[in-house]
Each structure stands twice: as C-alpha cells, then as structure tokens.
C-alpha cells in the first residue's frame, strides 16, 4: 500500500510539473492546443453552407457509419500513444482478423463462439505487441509493423483471401443496418466505449499509470511500478478496441475480407494527433480523440462530396498530421516560456 501511494505521488508530481499551464501566453497557447475545435467548427459551417448534400440526414448517417469503426480503433490506440509508444500499426490486421472471425466462425458456430475466438485473437495480438515493446524494449513501430505482416499473412492463408458474407438478416446484419433516426446502432457502441475508456484513462490507477509512463518512463519505473505490464495493458486495450471495431465494421457491410481495414493504422493515428493527443506521450485524452475522429471523417466526407479523389484526401491528411504535430511542438514551446 505504502509503495503504491509513493508511486502515485512521484508520478503525480511529474504530471503536475509537466502539465501545469503557464499563464503567460494565454491566447496563443489555447489556440495551439485547441485549434482543432476551431477548425472543425469552421469546416462544418463552410460545408453546411457551400457543399451540396452535406447537411442531409443520409449524409449524417454516412459520416457516422464511416467514422465509427475508425473511431473505435482510434480511442483504443490513444492508450498506446499516450503511454509514449508512438502507435500500433497492427490494428489493420487486428480489425480484419476480428471481422473475418465474426463472419466466418459466427455463421458456422454462432456469435458466442465467434466472440470468444475474436477476443482470444485480440488478447494474443495485445500480448505479443505489449511484451515485445514492454519487456524487450523494442521499437513499437517496427514490432507492430512485423505483427501486421504476421497477422495479415496468417489471416490470408487461413481465409484463402476470400470474402466472407454473413447470412442476410442474421444477428450481424440486423445490428449493422439498424439505426435510431439517422444514428446507426454502432454509433452508440462507439460513444459507450469512448466514455468507458475515457473513465479508465482519467479515473483508474491503470489509466493514471499509462499517462505517467508517457510523461516519464524512468520516474514511473523507479516508483516501483511494473511498467512492462502497463505497456502490455495499453496494447491490450488497443487490441480489444480493434476487435470491437472489426465486429462493427463487418456488421455494417455484412462482409469481411483480410484487406478490409487498410489504412486504419495511419488514419487512426492521424485522428489521435489532430485531436491534440501528444505523440510524445503523457498528454491527451480519449475525448480529444473523439473530436479528432469527427474532424477527419467530416473532412473526408466534404472532400468526397466536392469531388476530390482518394489521392487528394490522402494528401490532405498528411499535411494535417504535419500541421497538428507542429502545433503540438509550438504549444510545448509556448508552455515552457
């Protein structure tokens, strides 16, 4: 008990020391930290007035349907980013694995078995990534790049690269196409998960340790915390979220294929960074990621409605990531003055 409270105190002083906002440069600091709010409002207002069909209910449903799987991945991955381990590229493989398992196993043995299998796969991903990064101190980018290829290769081998269809009007299909007004069921799953994860990050010991690990790895370790397990935990959260995202994504179209989640890794990271979670770790929140996801999805939608192709969307996201990180660095510099 005594040891734990000491840890908390050390970590707390660290967090407080780093996070305490300096009052000297108010407006600039606020802008650099919360610029995405402004951008989002400007973008939405612009779109509502000048883009045909943006405000329609159908389009809102469309945006939500696209945003939800990406969002679920992103809120989960926020844990890895905040813990200072950059990102988890293997979500691409995780989402696809889960989607394929839910449709392939689910239509054969029922959803319960499928859920068990998918959870097992997710835990395996989380453990391999987490142990390699936490215990072996390997670089997260490379480790998850490797597990992406391992996972996707195995998935493609076992699935034969084929597309799986769920039975029409099966439980997956009913869930995937159901909606309340313009809001699909899956959006509620996303919102619920965001709230839960937000509480985990801000209110539990584990969330606290993830944050303090991101701020100062050494201090957290010296405080007697088993830091390896914190990292494993962060990767497990990401993997479980990706599993749920796979379910939602497969249910939406009632199909699953090993390439279904291509681009999710970087897009989710883009949403996290644009939301304002620092890639340097330690600073950020799940709710900010929610905002980032909405921003990225609205932007994609507006660009599509305006007739811009995939290439331009990719280009825009790249520029936005660089801009967001530059802002992050600027806010750090302003905060230190």
């Amino acid at each position: 008990m005594a040891k734990e409270s000491l840890t908390e105190q050390i970590a707390l002083t660290e967090v407080v020391a780093q996070e305490a906002p300096k009052k000297t440069s108010g407006v600039g600091l606020w802008l650099t930290q919360n610029g995405v709010f402004l951008f989002l409002v400007v973008l939405a207002v612009f779109a509502a007035f000048f883009v045909n069909g943006f405000g329609s209910l159908d389009n809102v449903t469309n945006i939500l349907n696209r945003a939800v799987p990406l969002g679920i991945v992103a809120v989960g991955m926020t844990f890895v980013v905040i813990s200072g381990n950059y990102l988890d590229l293997s979500v691409v493989a995780q989402v696809a694995t889960s989607g394929v398992i839910f449709l392939a196993v689910g239509s054969e043995y029922g959803l319960g078995v499928a859920a068990l299998a998918a959870t097992g796969a997710a835990i395996l991903y989380g453990l391999v990534n987490g142990l390699a990064v936490g215990l072996f101190k390997a670089n997260a980018v490379i480790v998850t790049l490797a597990t992406t290829y391992i996972g996707l290769g195995l998935l493609r081998y076992f699935s034969g690269g084929s597309i799986f269809f769920g039975p029409p009007d099966g439980p997956m299909d009913v869930f995937g196409s159901g909606k309340v007004g313009p809001v699909p069921y899956s959006a509620f799953v996303f919102l619920g998960l965001t709230l839960v994860l937000s509480l985990v990050l801000t209110r539990t010991n584990f969330g606290f340790l993830v944050k303090s690990f991101g701020v100062n790895e050494r201090a957290t370790r010296l405080g007697g915390v088993n830091t390896d397990m914190v990292i494993v935990g962060a990767f497990l959260v990401t993997a479980l979220a990706a599993m749920i995202a796979g379910f939602v994504f497969a249910a939406f179209s009632n199909t699953a294929v090993s390439t279904m989640a291509q681009g999710f890794d970087f897009k989710a990271l883009g949403a996290i960074i644009i939301g304002g979670t620092s890639v340097f770790g330690g600073r950020g929140s799940v709710l900010r990621t929610l905002l980032g996801v909405i921003f990225v999805s609205v932007l994609d939608n507006v660009l599509t409605l305006l007739g811009f192709t995939f290439g331009f969307q990719q280009l825009a996201l790249g520029v936005l990531i660089l801009l967001a990180v530059t802002l992050d660095v600027l806010s750090r510099k302003l905060g230190q003055q």
Partner: protein, 341 residues
C-alpha cells in the same frame, strides 16, 4: 555470434582478445548467422537460388537499395517511414513525364526535396522523426495517386525500360550495378569521411555530439537527403525495370527495407550499425524471398515468415536482451530476498 567468440578464445593469447574485441564491436552478428542458416538451407533444398543468381541478385538489389538509404538515417537514431511513398511518387513521376532526360532528374530532385522537408521538420521544428516522415508518407502517397490519376501508368519510352533490364557487365544489369555503386559510395562515406563518421556520434549521444562541435542539424539534413535520394533512385529503377508505375508500388517496401536494415544489426536508437550489415541483411532477405518464389510458397506465408524474422530480429537486439536479463536478475534477487524472511 557465440560461435565466433569461442573461436576467438581458441586463438593464441594476444590475438584472442583482439579478435574478441573486434567481434564484440561488430554489429552484424545476427545478419551473418541468418545468412549462414539461409545459405545452408538453400544449398540443400533450392540450389536454383545460386544457379539462377541474376534473379537472386536482382531481388537483393530491389530490397537493399531502399534499406541502404534508410541505414544512413537509422545510424542517427531516426526513422524514415516516407521511403515507401518516395519510391512510389518518384516512380510515377518517371512514367508521367515523357522525356526520360527530364523525368529522371525531376524524380531524383523530388527525393532530395522530400529529404529536405523531412529534415526540416525533424531538425528545425523538432518533431519526432517517425511522425514527421509519417506525414510525408501520407502526403507523397496522395501525390503519387493524384499524379497518376489513381491508375498504373505505363512508361512512355518502353525501349529504355527494356534496355535497362539487359545485362551490361557479365550477368549484371544496370539495376544491380547501381545498387553496388550506392553500397560502395555509402560505405566509403560512412567509414572514411568525416561527415559520415559524425552520423555515429549524432546517433550515439546527440548532446555530446553537439557539445563537441559537430553540426548536428546539418548531419540530420545530410542523412534524410541521402535516404530521400536513394529511395527516389529506387523508384526510378523500379519503374524502368517494370516499364510501368503504380501509385501503390511501395506498400511492401516498408517491411522489407526495415527488415533488412534491422537484421543487419543497425540499432534503432542510433549510434551503432553498418552499411555492410544492411547489405548482409538484404542479401539474406533477398535469398529467402527468391527461395519462396522458386519453391512456390504462397505470398501470405512469405509475409508471415518475413514478419516473424523482423519481430525476432528486433527483440533479439542486444539492448533488448540486456534489458530482459537485467529484469530477470532483479526478479530473482527479489525472490531470494523475500525467501529467508
């Protein structure tokens, strides 16, 4: 590595410690082991890899070129994820501009420009390299799609492409020769030139490098420019060889080039590694891929195996092993302390 060290012990005293120190200083151990294992397996199961060596060499050149450029950046403890889409973008540029005399310089200049932008964000703005180059990875991949109109573009001057695939020196095609040229140039640069040797200092201890008067920022620019230029060159070669350019050409490059550099013993934290190591790593991977190709192993299985090798390579990094051993030791000593009480 252990084998070589034992050998060192058998030598006469005097030479023994020297050899031991030499082995300990080298970082290519794992690459040598992997290469030896793969060579042995290949000799017995798929000797075609050796007899059809132009194919194998071509494969090695393909994997290795990007990895060589990447090594320059990794030596300084930075990552360059943008190599994949630099390759795609420069490949598309070569195909889109009809006159090759203009197209190739433009493509190579694009690579240099990418390097400068990357280095600007890393050295001047101060963004972690993996994220700055991630932005570039996205941006350039978008650019490649925009320039090509989202479809593969055929090279206008098909004859040049065909000519480019012909052997010029014995069995060596221009592609392999260019790869060797880049290897020799980089090896000389890193080991014999002041600027190149400073890479190790920048990667080993940046503050110390800065304090001892090494122009750290300029070296970071040098490294990223090398990496950008070399991957643009790889893109040009890729398009000329295939006589067509696809905007998503670089999708597998990221895995194989990073795998080659890491298997080659380059520390991701920087300061240790070698160009020779990357060559060995690329050779091992190239032979492995050719073996897969010739024995008809499916692509998904290939990717799984290469992914597994990369994972193994990155967790058997000496720093990782040391961290693990220390942890085990402290866990054991804790248990020993608890037991008597």
């Amino acid at each position: 590595m252990t084998q070589t060290m034992e050998l060192g012990n058998l030598q006469k005293p005097g030479l023994g410690p020297k050899l031991k120190a030499f082995v300990r200083r080298r970082t290519e151990g794992r690459a040598v082991i992997l290469l030896a294992v793969i060579s042995l397996v290949v000799v017995f199961y798929e000797p075609l890899v050796f007899t059809a060596y132009p194919v194998t060499l071509g494969r090695i050149a393909l994997i290795g070129l990007v990895a060589l450029g990447l090594t320059a950046v990794i030596l300084m403890g930075e990552l360059d994820l943008s190599v994949a889409s630099t390759l795609a973008a420069s490949g598309v540029i070569v195909a889109v501009i009809p006159d090759l005399r203009i197209a190739i310089p433009v493509a190579l200049l694009t690579g240099i420009a990418v390097g400068i932008v990357n280095a600007f964000f890393v050295a001047i703005v101060g963004i972690a390299s993996f994220i700055a180059t991630l932005g570039m990875l996205f941006g350039l991949s978008g650019l490649a799609f925009v320039l090509s109109g989202e479809v593969p573009v055929n090279l206008q001057n098909q004859d040049a492409g065909i000519l480019f695939s012909q052997p010029v020196l014995g069995p060596l095609t221009p592609r392999i020769l260019l790869f060797l040229l880049v290897f020799i140039a980089l090896q000389l640069f890193v080991t014999r030139m002041k600027a190149g040797r400073e890479f190790f200092a920048v990667g080993g201890n940046r503050q110390a490098a800065y304090d001892s008067g090494i122009p750290v920022k300029r070296r970071i620019f040098t490294g990223f420019i090398i990496s950008g230029f070399v991957s643009a060159l790889a893109g040009v070669i890729y398009t000329l060889t295939l006589t067509t350019a696809s905007p998503d050409a670089g999708s597998n490059v990221l895995l194989s080039s990073f795998a080659a550099a890491i298997i080659g013993g380059n520390y991701l934290k920087g300061g240790k590694g070698s160009i020779v190591g990357t060559l060995l790593g690329a050779t091992a991977l190239g032979m492995l891929q050719t073996t897969f190709l010739m024995s008809g192993i499916q692509v998904p299985v290939q990717n799984t195996l290469i992914g597994a090798i990369l994972l193994l390579a990155v967790i058997t990094d000496p720093t990782s092993l040391r961290a693990l051993i220390e942890k085990l030791r402290s866990a054991l000593s804790k248990r020993a302390k608890v037991a008597p009480s």
